[in-house]
Amino acid sequence: MAEMLHLKLKVWRQKNANDKGHFEEIDAPNISVHASFLEMLDIVNERLEQEGKEPIAFDHDCREGICGMCSMVINGRPHGHLAGTTTCQLHMHNFQSGDTIVIEPWRAKAFPVLKDLMVDRSAFDYIMQAGGFISVNTGGAPDANAIPIPKVKADLAMDAAACIGCGACVAACKNASAMLFVAAKVSQFALLPQGQVERKERVKKMLAAMDEAGFGNCTNQYECEAACPKEISVGFIARMNKEYLNAVTSSD
């Protein structure tokens, strides 16, 4: 394999939320196959700055696949074509010299573009603030081993809790639905004994907040699961629907 790639980028450039935005073609020669996708953009940005052009703005932070900040659609797929991988963990040896790479921001009404590839995902925080918690104040918690939790349930709760809140599920969905994100949190708490008291209220409040924030609904095409860098199962959406049905049809 050649050590250096020569790529052509088509990058979404948008000055701010009000700008219409456009694709810009950028020539990217001499990119090491060992670089990560974001390091490739660092190199391109360094060159742009040297030429007196503004660098491409994109969100990123931990660069080890866990903070959930990086967010770009690469050749039509959120976080690119590798399964179970965030953009920061996608490396250039997965591309060929001569490739054209199209890079866009998450596109969803609830995630307005701030600049270039950077979007505002505060709608996710808003959903969490509506009910994504167990109402326990600091202090006074019983001993951690007071309530045993079956390992199978704890493991399943952990599967759901692995969500990094990046929003790839929304970007992948033609309805820009946040169902997988909300379902992961609802399921985590519904599976644990500590989450039982607020179980019904939580699912109702979080779904109401989701609708209010402008996300679409689910039409069962599972694009979200395919795009999820943590491979969160759509089975959690079914679980959440059951939770919701139970919450609105039964009384205590």
Partner: protein, 637 residues
Amino acid sequence: MKLNSKIPSGPIEKKWEEHKFELKLVNPANKRKYSVIVVGTGLAGASASASLAELGYKVKTFCFQDSPRRAHSIAAQGGINAAKNYKNDGDSVYRLFYDTIKGGDFRAREANVYRLAEVSVNIIDQCVAQGVPFAREYGGYLSNRSFGGALVSRTFYARGQTGQQLLLGAYSALSRQIGLGAVEMYPRTEMLDLVVVDGHAKGIVTRNLVTGKIEAHAADAVVLATGGYGNVFFLSTNAMGCNVTATYRAYKKGALFGNPCFTQIHPTCIPVSGDYQSKLTLMSESLRNDGRIWVPKKKGDTRPPHEIPEDERDYYLERKYPSYGNLAPRDISSRSAKEVCDEGRGVGPGGLGVYLDFSDAIKRLGEDVIRDRYGNLFDMYQRITNENPYKVPMRIYPAVHYTMGGLWVDYNLMSNLPGLHVIGEANFSDHGANRLGASALMQGLADGYFILPYTIGDYFANSGGKKVSTDHPEFKKALEDAETRTKKFLSINGKRTVDSFHKELGKIMWDYCGMARNKAGLQIALKRIPEIRAEFWENVKVLGSNEEVNVSLEKAGRVADFLEFAELMCIDALNREESCGGHFRTEYQTEDGEAKRNDEKFCYVSAWQYNGEGKKPTEIKEELVFENVKLTQRSYK
């Protein structure tokens, strides 16, 4: 200045209990009259914000990321220590205290560390109540594993994502308070300066990273939970945004900086692959249980590893530390790797790597067993390097990971500036010269959930509650300073990018103030840093304007502060003429290459006071008193 650490008297196991009783309280109905600014939303900042709001204080919380959930605590893998003794294996608060103080090479305060061990048990209870899905046994009870250095099993974990789960727990508690209107949250907002009025910390100046708006915020107390400064090295395991600005700005406003030279280098990271590299990825230390570390005996041997016969390999850790072998402690393993690479025997691009070879383990146990133990790590390695570690030995190299130094605080976690509290990695207090694995998460949450909420009330009750608004001249001045500085960055219009300066500084720091330091090297660094800084202020290129998203401008502010802070680190490293924990001065080592402490002369905390631009800072000493543990030399043979 004389430092008062406010360590309570009495026997160590009673100190915190009695101190809590001595602390003054604020009437529940009066708490809403007090406002607190919290900067940073990692484990310490998020847990403090939520807990203070639950108590009734008015809280404003700030983070530079797009959401409080992204803070870098999220990346911690291994686990969190707690003296629960669920395993019935002889653990106790006292044992956790002892392990931690010894791990820190006897450069931390006994009283603080004991309290940390004491509240560790409450943390686990709190997190379970929040719905943190810790690993469990089939009986439904919590599972533990053992971690570096400890002889008991006391580490609680959630797969390889313990930091993520704990942070999401604290974030959910914080989200609840935001929803209730008790916390006002400012994401994508970076602190640029601290405002001090009549000697008390009364507010901050921030920049909105979307609109560029520079604003002042006043409060009755300020809490910094802004993490460590590992990115002064440019390359580290820290997130890209981690920076020293908040704590360094506080230092320039009069807060003392404690032990800045105490940094931790983690031995098992994926090596640098080129000059475009932006960060280093940690590979769990557990790999050293089955992997053997080696380099070729010959210098400049470029043969692929499988062509190098057994008798031409140097398994240097096994050779030098026959009893610990590949499981030699972090600092020893890191330094040994550097030594062999400096000799020209390193492997991989640039010769900065050593092999971590699993072929013997695979022969002995089979590939399936290895896959079962380390599958996810092998996958991660392959994803990044495009090499199959089942077939080819991994290449690893040490990387900067954690900073034990930070702003000086007293037992109440308050700095020498009244009203300024510092928690988590941002303070200097609990880890001495070296941090043990699974202790950082413990400290962040201890400070935020169980210590600061008690001690901050004492400050309010004692300070008389003098209110200051942002109309005060000190706020106006701080705002002006921040605006002037921003304009300056944008007007220099030089030829070099911000990153190029950051990389240049990082290399100097890594070469001369990294894993091994000596007088000559530190003097070179102290000569070079001001030169780089001077060039930065004349030749940096920051494009765009202030009134928009401007990533280069953000970075320029951070790097400008690193360029000053780096000098303080080197001054501290030069001043501390001993080796202890992560601070290894090559002049001070035992015959077999171990760190040689000098308890006669250096059994103290160096707290540095800012004296103005271009002036040498003053060292103020806090003598460390050990009433419970005996100072011993650590040996690993």
